[in-house]
């Protein structure tokens, strides 16, 4: 049976990199005694696939990985057992059955993600930045310079920003994610700082990932469904 695990990574755990989080879960699953599938050979490895790596320094309440289990277990029991072996800052949110097949893996499905950007105390841009969000997002084109190894090229990120608005003091972003179309919250903020004519420093704000979605709609009309909602509870 294929299952999808949703987890949160907060507090000091934001300093643990993606590869170490994978190792952390390999060990946690062993500690929780969940019977998962392994690769063959002399050094068997747990078959896991993560949805979208999270950068060091970013917190999240919506991280996902898929794995295969040999012995069925109820969602409730699995979440309980996993949370018993978590460290502070890590929490398993759900454990759900997902359909088989390569097209259904979390990594293949990722199409969009929600983020909250919050300024660190005393590091907010100059007054009036809140009023500039609408003007920023209403433009038909937002050009940024992307540096590659060989050259620099201008890219329009506007099509990848699905939503941007203010929620209290935080900026909410819904951005394209995944292998085909994607942009990062840092890039959007860099463009926004440029638009406000302020010096950019990625240390001025913190980023929190709030959800990751698959797109079950058509080319013309998006229908974003969270990766969690594509799975079903195991009784």
């Amino acid at each position: 049976m294929k299952v999808r695990v949703k987890f949160a990574k907060e507090g000091a755990m934001k300093f643990i990199g993606h590869l170490d989080i994978m190792r952390y879960f390999q060990k946690a699953i062993k500690r929780a005694g969940i019977d998962v599938a392994y690769s063959e050979g002399f050094s068997p490895h747990m078959i896991m696939s993560f949805a979208a790596p999270l950068g060091v320094g970013v917190t999240s309440t919506a991280e996902y990985f898929d794995m295969e289990i040999n012995t069925p277990i109820s969602s409730r029991e699995a979440v309980k057992r996993l949370n018993e072996v978590m460290v502070e800052g890590m929490e398993v949110k759900s454990f759900r059955k997902i359909p088989d097949g390569k097209a259904n893996t979390a990594m293949a499905l990722v199409a969009a993600a929600d983020y909250y950007v919050e300024f660190r105390e005393g590091m907010e841009p100059e007054a009036g930045w809140k009023d500039k969000i609408n003007a920023f997002i209403e433009r038909s084109e937002i050009l940024i310079v992307k540096k590659t190894k060989k050259n620099e090229k201008e890219v329009d990120i506007r099509p990848y920003i699905y939503d941007m608005h203010l929620e209290g003091d935080r900026i909410f972003l819904k951005l394209a994610a995944g292998s085909v179309k994607n942009t990062k919250p840092e890039l959007v903020m860099e463009a926004f700082f440029a638009f406000c004519e302020q010096e950019f420093d990625s240390f001025r704000f913190t980023i929190h990932r709030a959800e990751v979605y698959a797109d079950k709609g058509t080319e013309e009309c998006r229908n974003l469904i969270s990766l969690e909602d594509l799975g079903e509870e195991i009784e």
């Binding site: 755990m13 190792r23 390999q26 946690a28 062993k30 072996v85 460290v87």
Partner: protein, 619 residues
């Protein structure tokens, strides 16, 4: 949530921030207001190395079992963070509470190798404590040393309040009980140290005076305080089965050098190799009960979720119940999908069978440690491994499908001749030849033989403690002789040669057998900017030599002298059970190329029998 000692800004700028945040699985959090003693255990090297160390895990578990004590950990900040902490004056902190170490009751520093000594000073300095014990007032923690290098603590003597000589499981609880009573009674540090000095195994360096002859050797070493003992007795746990062992070791987030469960199966070694300090220090050999080991292995795998387990001991092949233990582990681990990492076993039919079960033959290699290139020199060092045995083992392995062999040797051993050095090349050639005797259609391409040599460093409490070392240039000449002789062999294309750095060897030699005079040089070198000497990219031989010159101390006094038999050594005040008489006799036998049988074959009366246990009693 805990507040971290370092800001986000710093943590996002440095390498491996996970090394400084604590919060690991099985790390212990307590309420600091509910404990009487706060102990910080330090490993003076980088986190990923320190986290692989078993000794700290044992003591961490043992201390935290006490309700009145909270034991935390600290490791050397890497140079990137070191520079930031100095610049911003951030005091060194313990990982669990993130509190300043300077406010703790104890700072215990484990001394695993000599090349970490400048990092010991780095830890004290970053903790914003005076380096020297005499300059640290009542407000500072008691600084304690332990581990193998504390068997000659003298180069570090002025920096420590006390050293614990021997295995931690014995009198540490007594020491902590005493400390608690003294703290409650509001008594002074000196009063506590006087009481501590009476506890077996505890050495308080300030309570001893050393006088020197004009030639620099020690004239006398005497207590200057009535509470200090003449001799410090090494501490040994005689019942090694029923003692502390951590069933819930701390599991780091980042990959440690040894990212696995470590199961200690025995302490001590029956072999008596004359160059080996551990082989003498940890006598007598004591085995752990196999049933307890099975239970412990299971509990540790369950509590950590580790994907690998390895056995720890000085010579695992000598553990009497090894086949039973390995059979159990193979069964248990295949169910749990856990890999077994085998320690270097003696290569024979049993070990080859085990290896073929747990490793991919195509990817794994065989390891032999002949240590010396000729039978003559192997007799000198009492390494009972013959060319015949090596060739037989390698032959069996080649027939079984292995193609890779690793060989470890030492250069610069006492009595070594050019023939002995060339013997290294000849032995490698003989092994390669044995491989190519297999018909072409039955072997798997070429064989690969990797020869590695290190330079021998004489250590205290070994039969070679009297031996002379060599100059850096002489070591490099020796390596060149081996290199050229390997090139002259028929199968040289199948033999690869690596050798260890020579300047580090010289320094290690000075520190290993150094006296209190070396402490000034150590501090001066540290002040010049030396840290992480164990890392070749940071090791600064020039700074050390500069400091020796400025102090007017000749480093060759420590390295190039063969000591007379009656010289007083800096470490003579410690008793390890094995007598100086026995070591002296072994030194003479070495020069006569006479071997000494191992403890299982025959008792040689080394002195460790006084502990009345282990191999000495069980035979």
């Amino acid at each position: 949530m805990r507040k971290l000692a370092l800001s986000d800004e710093i943590l996002l700028k440095i390498e491996k921030p996970a090394s400084y945040i604590g919060n690991e699985v099985n790390s212990v959090m307590k309420n600091k207001d509910e404990v009487d003693i706060r102990f910080c255990m330090a490993f003076p090297d980088v986190y990923s190395i320190g986290m692989s160390h078993l000794g700290i895990q044992i003591l961490y578990d043992m201390f935290n079992k006490r309700e009145d004590t909270w034991c935390e950990r600290v490791y050397s900040p890497w140079p990137d963070l070191d520079a930031i902490m100095r610049e911003k004056k951030i005091p060194l902190f313990a990982l669990e509470s993130q509190d300043k170490i300077k406010d703790f009751d104890f700072l215990g520093i484990t001394l695993q190798y000599e090349m970490c000594y400048t990092n010991v000073l780095q830890i004290l300095d970053l903790a914003q404590m005076p380096l020297r014990a005499k300059d640290r007032g009542e407000e500072y923690p008691l600084v304690m040393g332990g581990g193998p290098c504390s068997y000659n603590p003298e180069p570090l003597a002025p920096f420590f309040d006390m050293f614990y000589i021997g295995e931690g499981e014995t009198v540490f609880n007594d020491l902590l009980d005493e400390y608690k009573a003294y703290k409650k009674a509001g008594k002074s540090k000196k009063e506590f140290l006087e009481r501590a000095a009476e506890i077996p195994g505890i050495y308080v360096p300030a309570f001893y005076d050393v006088e020197y002859h004009e030639d620099g050797t020690i004239a006398s070493f005497k207590p200057n305080n009535p509470h200090a003992k003449e001799k410090i007795e090494k501490q040994v746990v005689m019942d090694i089965t029923n003692t502390y062992y951590p069933t819930k070791p701390v599991v780091p987030f980042i990959k440690a050098t040894q990212d696995r469960v470590t199961l200690e199966i025995q302490r001590g070694c029956i072999r008596g190799c004359r160059f080996c300090q551990a082989g003498m220090l940890y006598r007598p050999t004591r085995e752990k009960d196999v049933e307890v080991l099975k239970e412990t292995a299971k509990a540790m795998l369950e509590s950590t979720g580790h994907e690998e387990i390895s056995l720890s001991s000085l010579s695992s092949s000598d553990y009497s119940k090894l086949p039973e233990l390995i059979d159990y582990l193979i069964e248990e681990c295949s169910q749990r999908k856990v890999n077994i990492s085998l320690p270097s076993l003696r290569i024979d039919a049993f070990s080859l069978d085990v290896m073929s079960k747990v490793q991919d033959i195509k990817k794994s290699s065989l390891t032999f440690a002949p240590e010396a290139g000729s039978q003559r020199l192997r007799d000198v060092i009492n390494k009972g491994l013959t060319e015949e045995v090596i060739l037989e083992g390698a032959g069996k392995a080649f027939d079984g499908g292995w193609t890779r062999v690793k060989l470890y040797f030492m250069l610069g051993l006492p009595t070594e001749t050019e023939e002995d050095m060339k013997g290294i090349a000849h032995l490698a050639e003989a092994i390669a030849k044995r491989y190519y005797e297999i018909p072409k259609d039955q072997r798997h391409g070429k064989c690969q033989i990797v020869v590695s040599t290190s330079f021998f460093v004489p250590k205290p409490f070994t039969p070679f403690q009297w031996a002379s070392m060599f100059r850096k240039e002489d070591y490099l000449d020796k390596a060149k002789i081996v290199k050229e002789e390997i090139k002259a062999q028929l199968n040289q294309k199948s033999i690869k040669y690596n050798y260890h750095e020579a300047d580090v060897t010289v320094l290690e030699g000075i520190l290993a057998r150094g006296d209190r005079k070396v402490a000034d040089v150590l501090e001066a070198t540290y002040r010049k900017g030396a840290i992480f000497d164990a890392w070749s990219e940071y090791f600064r031989y020039d700074l050390w030599m500069e400091a020796f010159q400025e102090a007017g101390i000749d480093p060759e006094f420590y390295t190039l002298r063969e000591r007379p038999l009656d010289e007083i050594f800096p470490w003579d005040f410690i008793s390890i059970g094995v007598t100086r008489k026995f070591l002296e006799n072994e030194w003479k036998k070495a020069q006569q190329e006479v071997v000494t049988p191992n403890c299982k074959m025959q008792c040689s009366g080394c002195g460790a029998g006084k502990y009345k246990g282990g191999i000495c009693v069980e035979g």
